[in-house]
């Protein structure tokens, strides 16, 4: 499936993500990591922490509705893989980010933005992993 090259909207969206990460640190002193938010919600500890994560998640989940109101359409989500691929891939992602201590947002944006060596290592490693598995899935297995 061919997708359109969108440098401007992608850069604009990225800048909004970078701004959100900066604001979360400036106001709440936290790293913006999707993994940390979900993992924290699954492990109720401090009530204020839990509510903060729930509010972040609620804001994220509200985003498609905001776009629907502003643009009149839902954001485009095209899924070119099978249901088993989503389920198996999703489980592998959850398993990996737990031990890796973060994902594209926590390591890829927040960690790299403060030049953490751990995050730079993690980012290079998970990017390499994704290149490898896409190559295997699409060009060797042909799924």
């Amino acid at each position: 499936m061919i997708t359109e090259f969108t440098p401007l909207t992608s850069a604009l969206g990225g800048m909004m993500v970078g701004l959100a990460a900066t604001l979360l640190m400036a106001l709440h002193g936290r790293i913006f990591g999707a993994t940390g938010i979900v993992a924290g919600l699954l492990r109720p500890g401090d009530r204020n922490d839990w509510l903060l994560r729930a509010a972040l998640l609620a804001g994220m989940v509200a985003a498609p509705t905001l776009l629907l109101v502003l643009t009149g359409q839902m954001p485009q989500i095209q899924v070119p893989v099978s249901t088993p691929a989503i389920l198996i891939g999703g489980t592998i992602v959850g398993f990996g980010v737990f031990f890796g201590g973060g994902c594209t947002s926590g390591h890829g944006i927040c960690g790299n933005a403060r030049f953490s060596r751990r995050s730079i290592t993690a980012t290079l490693t998970f990017m390499a992993g994704a290149f490898l598995s896409v190559y295997v899935m699409r060009h060797l297995i042909g799924a």
């Binding site: 969206g13 959100a20 095209q78």
Partner: protein, 144 residues
């Protein structure tokens, strides 16, 4: 107030992710498919994010603390260890299979699409499985 700003920050993040195309598996997978239908857009997402977050973090972390909390909560580990590398490699492999990453899937949940719900459910199952694995490994270490 604290919860309202968190909600708005989540909304800004989610809207950015959706506009950027990070919640669209077809686009994400094409970024990694250099040998096929390559779409380099995702490099612009990370570039744009870092363009703002690098100076933003520098400015913010130079201040005595955040507005609503006592101090900044930053990870104190610096070691590049086996869990970091193997876990990240595993994450990357799974990302290439499913096409969603956690930060892309959470905002996409709001579309109510079945594929996104399935991914997030599987993601949570993977997190819990990993937690169980670590607990078992630690118990075994203590036993020996």
């Amino acid at each position: 107030m604290r919860l309202l700003t968190a909600f708005l920050i989540g909304l800004l993040f989610g809207t950015g992710i959706l506009i950027a195309g990070m919640a669209n598996p077809a686009k994400v997978l094409n970024f990694f498919d250099i040998a096929g239908t390559w779409d380099p857009s995702l490099a612009f997402v990370m570039g744009g994010a870092l363009l703002v977050a690098v100076p933003g973090y520098r400015l913010v972390l130079g201040r005595p603390g955040p507005l609503f909390e006592q101090g900044f909560q930053l990870p104190d580990t610096r070691r590049i260890d086996r869990p970091l590398v193997l876990g990240s490699l595993t994450f990357g492999l799974g990302w290439g299979v499913a096409g969603f990453c956690p930060g892309g899937a959470l905002p996409a949940l709001g579309t109510g699409r079945g594929e996104v719900v399935m991914f997030v459910a599987a993601f949570i199952a993977g997190l819990l499985l990993a937690r169980l694995t670590r607990t078992l490994m630690q118990t075994r270490l203590r036993a020996t």
